[in-house]
Symmetry: C2
Subunit: 229 residues, 2 copies
Amino acid sequence: MRDTFHDELDSIGRSLYEMDGLVSDAMRKASAALLEADLTLAEQVISDDGKIDAVRDDLESFAFDLLARQQPVAGDLRIIVTSLRMVADLERMGDLALHVAKVARMRYPACAVPSEVRGTIRQMGGIAHRISTKTGDVIAGKNVALAEEIESDDDSMDVLHRRLFAILLSDDWAHGIEPAIDITLIGRYYERFADHAVSVARRVIYLVTGEMPQPAALSSGITETALGI
Amino acid sequence: MRDTFHDELDSIGRSLYEMDGLVSDAMRKASAALLEADLTLAEQVISDDGKIDAVRDDLESFAFDLLARQQPVAGDLRIIVTSLRMVADLERMGDLALHVAKVARMRYPACAVPSEVRGTIRQMGGIAHRISTKTGDVIAGKNVALAEEIESDDDSMDVLHRRLFAILLSDDWAHGIEPAIDITLIGRYYERFADHAVSVARRVIYLVTGEMPQPAALSSGITETALGI
């Protein structure tokens, strides 16, 4: 009976890994759609969001069922409750990829990203994809060292986010208000995406070590530093 | 034994109500700090955020302990798991109030809100406070009718959010990029705050009726409509 139960716990891990893969793929495509003004790709991300939600629904139902059937305690209970929280983070990451894709679609056939911020947005997209791929590896391998690497990726994201504001606020910005609003929101989506990836990684650390790391880097109160430049 | 358990379940409800009260109060003060450029009030919201996090920590530990000790099934299990999700929504609402307060502090002694958007922001702040007060009433009374009212408040918030973008994008906007960025972010904070309130209300409906309402109004993919005007 316990063996079946632990197989079931493992299958939660596999579903989390699968969900992370879908999210990571969605953000990779959303970034490409945004930078290349690729409507087909944007539409694909938008229609595929339902798949992420379906995995979430299955995972939540399964975890709930497991709680009710197996009455887990201690470590096993912690795994299930923590997994439910990771599901919520991953779902939100999927939503943020969706938002990026929607900006791409809204501005099509124009590109929402003016040339001055193109390099920075491309780097943010790159980090978002990398960080979510690592999140998957952390889930699969429960690799604490890699989880710490994700924190440093998040720091890089914050640096890029600040750079974005610096460009928007420079005298050279010639694109007016609407693109500035787009870029402000896009920057926020990427920054929040990375925050949630950090959150997932922290939860894996918690499962492995039994201690939740301090949320210093998890603060999303970036406005101060981002705008106070 | 079951009586003690149900007392404990009730105490989770009371803590959620308490947490909601702190969040609602934080948003009311943050809005006032923002509109009146009141640094003392902004600082108070910022320093009080720790209290919200403390209630969350206590609530999570208690719920977890209850899961482990009482091994609840069916409805009781659902109450605890759903409560943990409400805690996450309420914590995020507290963070969003904190973000509003931080914008107020960052721009002090100036006011971050130009006169053209003052009325709209004031209304958004009013709805945010009202919606979170109602959320508390819904938690306390498990009042499904009031939960539905919250959905309609959220619709009003979305209308105001769109109006905000219309003002930013009008030819009359004379304040340039920096205030436009501030207002874009502030608008997003209020809109997300209302989304999370709707989410809490939906969870109460779920507890009362056993069915989760369709998330039509919960979508935060407002960018399209907000910017596609």
